[in-house]
Symmetry: C2
Subunit: 242 residues, 2 copies
């Protein structure tokens, strides 16, 4: 069974690292003694691994970092749970591609390893990283990602600010531009910072605080709003089968 916890943002306003998902993490990782951490979205891999290690130690979970593994393929093959941290999505994808670890990661998750993604790690779970907000600081050979879900996610989704004087495109305008391109048919879930998606096999739930939610964009349709608690399992069925 494919089990995914896809978090929009590693922190939310006023909280510490992964604090807002602590209860969910405990439940999702219940019985798991160790996770494999993928630090490649940030430049300082040692520092990032130390940060993750400290955070998960408070849940009594050990952290092994992929960048420090003697045999990365072995580490992936033996992982019961994988956590891909946030940062720059282009850097993350390019590094996995250069190290030839993208397919092994995908395979391991489809075999049943639990997958946690946050921000860039959540983008990575999509068919491509075309809905990232990040700057293309490096060029992966392709934007194809892990395809652990058949739709796209826009993490850190941000509603237009009616008071803004800035003239850059709003997030909604950017996603509409994506769907103007005939090759982009996948729905896009705009995940606001305080929500996350929980996939267990054929079930997909939107979770978070009661007042929170997500916005769903599909080509040629008006966007739809879904509140925390919504069952989005239809998104696993309505697009190309996995």
């Amino acid at each position: 069974m494919t089990s995914l916890l896809l978090i929009s943002s590693s922190t939310v306003h006023g909280g510490g690292y992964l604090d807002h998902v602590e209860t969910e993490l405990k439940e999702f990782l219940s019985g798991i003694p160790e996770i494999l951490f993928v630090p490649y979205a940030l430049h300082d891999r040692d520092g990032y691994a130390a940060k993750a290690r400290e955070r998960f130690s408070r849940l009594d979970i050990a952290v092994k970092s992929l960048h420090a593994a003697r045999d990365p393929l072995d580490a992936i093959g033996g992982a019961g749970a994988i956590f891909v941290g946030g940062g720059n999505t282009f850097r993350l994808l390019k590094t996995l591609g250069d190290l030839r670890l993208r397919r092994p990661l995908r395979k391991r998750v489809l075999e049943g390893a639990l997958y946690i993604g946050s921000s860039a790690g959540t983008n990575l779970a999509c068919p491509t990283i075309r809905t990232t907000n990040d700057m293309p600081i490096v060029s992966p050979s392709s934007l194809a990602a892990l395809k652990l879900v058949p739709f796209q996610i826009n993490a850190h989704y941000l509603d237009p600010d009616p008071g803004s004087t800035h003239k850059g495109e709003t997030r909604e305008e950017r996603i509409r531009q994506l769907h103007e391109e005939p090759e982009n048919r996948e729905p896009v879930v705009g995940l606001r910072e305080n929500v996350w998606l929980l996939r267990r096999g054929a079930s997909l739930l939107l979770k978070g605080p009661a007042e929170a939610g997500a916005r769903l964009f599909r080509p040629g349709r008006e966007p739809n709003e879904y509140g925390a608690g919504a069952d989005l399992s239809f998104l696993l069925r309505e697009t190309a089968k996995m």
Copy 2:
């Protein structure tokens, strides 16, 4: 002589299309009866060309749109001035690549055709489009751009908002991430929305209202602020020669 007018944003708060650069456009295009418009950053090319045509008609300048030219290479070869409009930079670059027009455009500008870029069109003038803010809605075969200047520009540059509760990276953090990658050595000029760059051969000026400015980022150094009117010609010399 290479002549470039590189505009951060096609509009600024409270104004209409290209209003804030109207005086500069008149001067830059003085004596030019017609410009060649490159509409590929937006999906609706006809609509975009009509918008540009209306705007430049008020300056008594005709607009020919590249997408409607019977022979695009001929249109580029005969252009006295080229205007590349804003939109999605990935789409712009991919379209130029697919149509094999990137090199001819560059050649024509280096031969002396005036070049005006706005937003995505300004990104396009850089060595690569790695400092775009846009979503990677399509995949150009490479991020290499026109290299009409030897440095990078971040258009719509935005200062961190101390009141923000959003947890996505600030623009400055994104540019710092770019410079963490050893392959990215070019300085980055963060052009706030109300300023523009004017290049005339070896001279490069930052222009705009008196209170405006730009922020310059270089690898391993603290950023520097420059006010409108600043002479940035050193940026044409300090990096790899053109």
